[in-house]
Symmetry: C2
Subunit: 314 residues, 2 copies
């Protein structure tokens, strides 16, 4: 009887792998390096060998395995075709076919942010919710949208790129995407640092942040100490993110937003700043959407990848 | 053999009905008045009687009919529960059950904007496209989102309410939804008139629009005559709508936007003003989305309603 699945989360430095049972418990997890030489041609064979080694070690046969799910840092369409994952050096090919050629197992693939969202829906902060948006506040702002329990990948795999919603007309600096005024420029970890740098330069108001190394963590730690300048920065952050999530809500009307990534480690205090702006800008029919913290951390990717092959069997 | 379906589009003044064959041809269409007295309790019995009368007249039996689809001006969830359609006086109830109680036929229901989008996908401007956003530029700005060939109704039936994306921080007037700065305040027919009124009041620049009754049609007619002031107004309209559609694209990454409603009667010249702003603000992965005109006009609702019951049988 098929009782296991593998979840694979391919990152620019390491590949995370997990062995799961059908109930969604992770039985083992490990990492291998991501070898990016020669357009990353070695990555999938390395993944296949690592899975085969674990199967041999644990006495698991192909008959025992439902399949392998894979999350990739780049656009992936509904058939598992990757459209250039620049961080890996990958061009365009079909992941299920290629990895399925090395491993005689069913393979499914998706974009890493979408797959992580799927993991949070399956076993994380969005458990039990079939219409949700996962928002990752990390170096950038990523998004993953789940509608009716399914990942919304979009026409070209760019569904859920909510970090690049235009939110500020007066921005002079350029975003990583080449546009100006993207949500990511204010609500990511680097965005919070940018907001803090600008606020501190504006005047001489006293703040525990002065002289410190500015990080999103330092800003929200100072908010918890009731530092007035840090609170202003958090209000700006909340204004931008609340406005961005209100735009997302007017499009997909989710039941819940699940907030993860490094910035989310500040905890529920974030919601004190996001919620008022969200309610100010959102269409009234979407006002009740819940805000929740992601709970799977860096494991969301392997959970969601395993769910790609396990969920529809349940 | 089942070979017919009925499409019903309930509006605040009239109910439009259509008889369709399975290939999506409309065989007959007619209207009945919408009786809103007593919380609109008469509306569904009237629809049932009208359908029964047409079936009797044409010798169609229940065995010949796949079902009846219904579009409603209010939020409707995936099970066909309407959540207060204020324009009809309706509270909360299940449309398929109630109408199915009067007619012994399968009934499906959806929000009217979403259903019209479905119609445009089935037989209109988005034919052959399974990831699209229909945008209705009428008195307001409505939206209907189709993902993987399915209507995205959202957690509370407010999916696709793209007219209420916040797009302008400096707006002083209040939108119908009570917020300020919604896309609808600039890109609807009334929004174009508001932009025109403001522009004309700004200075004395000559324009054929001066002294005329301001309408969206008058503005775009003047654009076609190369009236400089009208072109400025069209540029502002395009800037707002392009920016709004770019936000929608970053969320759902559609293959196509299908533009309908009264304003769209101006024709493809609209795209000259929407496209540059769209491309300026959109995430690069979504830049290729097509813009097309809706083709079904006021019949999109009955087409989409019929498609609710016909599409999944095809």
């Amino acid at each position: 009887m098929k009782k296991y699945a593998f979840g694979v989360d391919i990152g620019g430095t390491t590949v995370k792998l997990g062995l799961f049972d059908k109930e969604g418990c992770v039985l083992d997890k490990w990492e291998i390096p991501t070898i990016k030489e020669n357009h990353g041609v070695q990555i999938l064979p390395d993944v296949a060998n690592s899975i085969k080694a674990v199967m041999a070690e644990k006495g698991i046969t192909e008959e025992d395995v439902v399949g392998v799910g894979v999350g990739v840092p780049g656009p992936v369409d509904a058939e598992g075709n990757v459209q250039k994952a620049v961080n890996l050096g990958w061009d365009v090919f079909n992941i299920p076919k290629v990895l399925g050629g090395y491993l005689d197992l069913e393979v499914k693939a998706g974009n890493d942010a979408n797959v992580a969202a799927y993991g949070e829906m399956w076993q994380g902060g969005g458990k039990g919710c079939s219409n949700m948006v996962a928002v990752t506040l990390g170096t950038g702002v990523g998004g993953g949208i789940i509608i009716g329990g399914q990942i919304l990948s979009g026409a070209t795999g760019a569904g859920g790129e909510i970090g690049h919603i235009h939110i500020e007309d007066n921005e002079t600096e350029v975003c990583g995407c080449k546009n100006r005024g993207c949500l990511e420029q204010y609500a990511s970890a680097t965005g919070v640092v940018r907001l803090a740098t600008r606020r501190l330069a504006k005047d001489d108001a006293p703040s525990v942040l002065r002289g410190e190394k500015l990080t999103a963590k330092a800003v929200f730690d100072a908010v918890k100490e009731k530092d007035a300048v840090a609170i202003e920065i958090a209000e700006q952050f909340g204004e931008y993110l609340g406005k961005g999530l209100a735009a997302v809500a007017a499009v997909v009307n989710p039941e819940m937003f699940v907030i993860g990534g490094g910035v989310s480690k500040a905890g529920e205090i974030l919601f004190d700043y996001i919620r008022p702006a969200y309610e100010k800008y959102v269409f009234h029919g979407c006002k009740e959407a819940k805000l929740a913290l992601a709970t799977l951390g860096n494991d969301a990717g392997i959970f969601g990848a395993a769910a790609l092959v396990l969920k529809e069997r349940n």
